[in-house]
């Protein structure tokens, strides 16, 4: 299970402020704590407007890199910002993200292929997020055709089946879970990741929903998630769910995490 740490994201107010003020200490602290909490990747999203996004993303990369060993997941829809940041990364970054949208495939996929990056592929296109599992699969097929044609091996693709909020459609989680099953069946070698917390947007006490959804998604075949690694309850649920699902030989991850104080009694 690979956790992509979500906290360094300029769409969060406090992070946006740190980016504007070039507050390295704040960003570095977020990076170190997420890495210590077991993030396999650190998502880095400047969230600023396209004019300054390349500079901001470069600043973030150069601020984070010296203090953690964890590779970065460069998060932008803007090919210029991604191309600029790729120049300064020391370890091959993951790219977040491509989709079925032609402009993203044309602008971002060549970068992914050229630098042999793992890439997150969203099950949506220029018409938006498809309502049904079948329609999302049609987009996934289109994107996978494109990544294969570009020479990107399936193992480097992290397909995101997309979670929409239950607040506006109570079938939303089921659609996502069905899509995870279908992707697992049709593309056995890809990874599956998800921006988990969307599922509970607009609802109170979101963490319960997020945790149950994570558990069900793991059962369906999710092997990565974009979450807050500092959320102890979420970590506990994740580790316990993997054990229950037979993915923790001799229960060692679970008992080790317990001994390390990741979660308590």
């Amino acid at each position: 299970m690979q956790i992509i740490g979500e906290k360094i994201n300029g769409t969060r107010k406090r992070v946006a402020q740190a980016i504007m003020e070039r507050d390295s200490a704040f960003i570095q602290d977020l990076a170190i704590r997420q890495a210590e909490a077991g993030a396999a990747w650190l998502d880095v999203n400047a969230g600023t407007h396209p004019n300054r996004e390349p500079d901001d993303l470069i600043w973030l990369v150069e601020t984070i890199q010296p203090v953690v060993k964890v590779p970065l997941c460069l998060d932008s829809a803007n090919p210029q910002a991604l191309a600029a940041a790729i120049q300064v990364v020391q370890q091959t970054p993951m790219i977040n993200s491509i989709s079925g949208e032609p402009s993203r495939l044309e602008g971002i996929l060549p970068l992914v292929a050229k630098h042999s990056c793992p890439v997150i592929a969203l099950a949506m296109d220029e018409r938006g997020i498809p309502e049904t599992c079948e329609q999302r699969m049609a987009v996934v097929h289109k994107v996978m055709e494109a990544t294969r044609a570009a020479g990107v091996p399936d193992e480097k693709v992290y397909v995101d089946p997309l979670a929409m909020t239950l607040a506006t459609n109570t079938q939303a989680a089921l659609i996502t879970l069905d899509t995870i099953h279908a992707i697992r069946r049709e593309f056995p070698n890809v990874h599956l990741t998800i921006g988990l917390s969307n599922i509970s947007f607009g609802l109170p006490a979101r963490s319960y929903i997020n945790r149950v959804f994570l558990t069900l998604a793991l059962q369906a075949g999710l092997d990565s998630a974009i979450i807050d690694p500092l959320d102890r309850e979420m970590k506990a649920v994740l580790i316990a769910a993997e054990l229950v699902l037979g993915r923790d030989r001799h229960c060692l991850n679970y008992t080790r995490a317990y001994r390390a104080g990741v979660f308590g009694k």
């Binding site: 300029g10 107010k13 969230g47 407007h49 396209p50 607040a167 109170p204």
Partner: protein, 210 residues
């Protein structure tokens, strides 16, 4: 009856609300009384959402109930309902972006706060905003977008409104994602709102409503 209706809608009792509406229609109540009650209830729902008692699902259900009630009442309406409105707002998610939840909440809150709102939907090209401003003649235009790339299309939309000679006739507000003073300046909008109520306050301020 109409107080009962207000409560049924405001308390999310959908079946009761629709039953009361049908009964009122059958007993020849003034359709405007029904619609007024519905609007009053919507304001209560908006208030509860603002306070944090209600959440997005309640807003959605309230919107659905309002739609169903309007359908039931429609045949009984001799003419289109005349409502006193503070002013008119054209709103939409700008081209290149398809996020609509924030925009829908702002639309709902503007509506319950007395604005006539024309919602152009998502991925709306600048030209469509220009046409809507010509036809609908709003005082306020709301541009929504969550993606950073939307800031460019917000700017293009403001420019297109300017080029069409319509800029002086409207106030433009932007919202969504991490809009701030800098983004506002970049796009050429008049103001930005961090949440739905901020948008309502701006619109009220601009049309001179209390």
């Amino acid at each position: 009856m109409s107080k009962e209706l207000v409560n049924a809608i405001a308390d999310m009792r959908e079946e009761d609300a629709l039953r009361i509406v049908r009964e009122m229609v059958e007993s020849d109540s003034d359709p405007m009384t029904i619609l007024d009650a519905a609007r009053e209830a919507m304001a209560v729902v908006g208030q509860r959402y603002e306070e944090g008692t209600y959440f997005l699902p309640e807003l959605m259900l309230a919107g659905e109930m309002l739609g169903q009630i309007t359908e039931i009442v429609k045949p009984a309406l001799a003419k289109a309902p005349e409502v006193t409105r503070y002013g008119k707002v054209v709103i939409g998610t700008v081209q290149g972006d398809i996020h609509d939840i924030g925009k829908n909440i702002v639309t709902f809150m503007l509506d319950v706060n007395g604005f006539a709102v024309l919602d152009l939907g998502v991925d709306v090209p600048p030209q469509k905003f220009v046409e809507a401003i010509r036809d609908f003649q709003p005082q306020v235009v709301g541009l929504s977008g969550f993606l950073t790339l939307a800031f460019d299309t917000m700017k293009e939309t403001v420019d297109a409104i300017k080029e069409a000679g319509l800029r002086d006739g409207v106030k433009i507000m932007i919202g969504g994602g991490q809009v701030n003073e800098e983004i506002k300046a970049y796009t050429g909008a008049d103001a930005y709102g961090r949440d739905a109520m901020a948008g309502v306050s701006l619109a009220k301020q601009w049309v001179g409503a209390k």
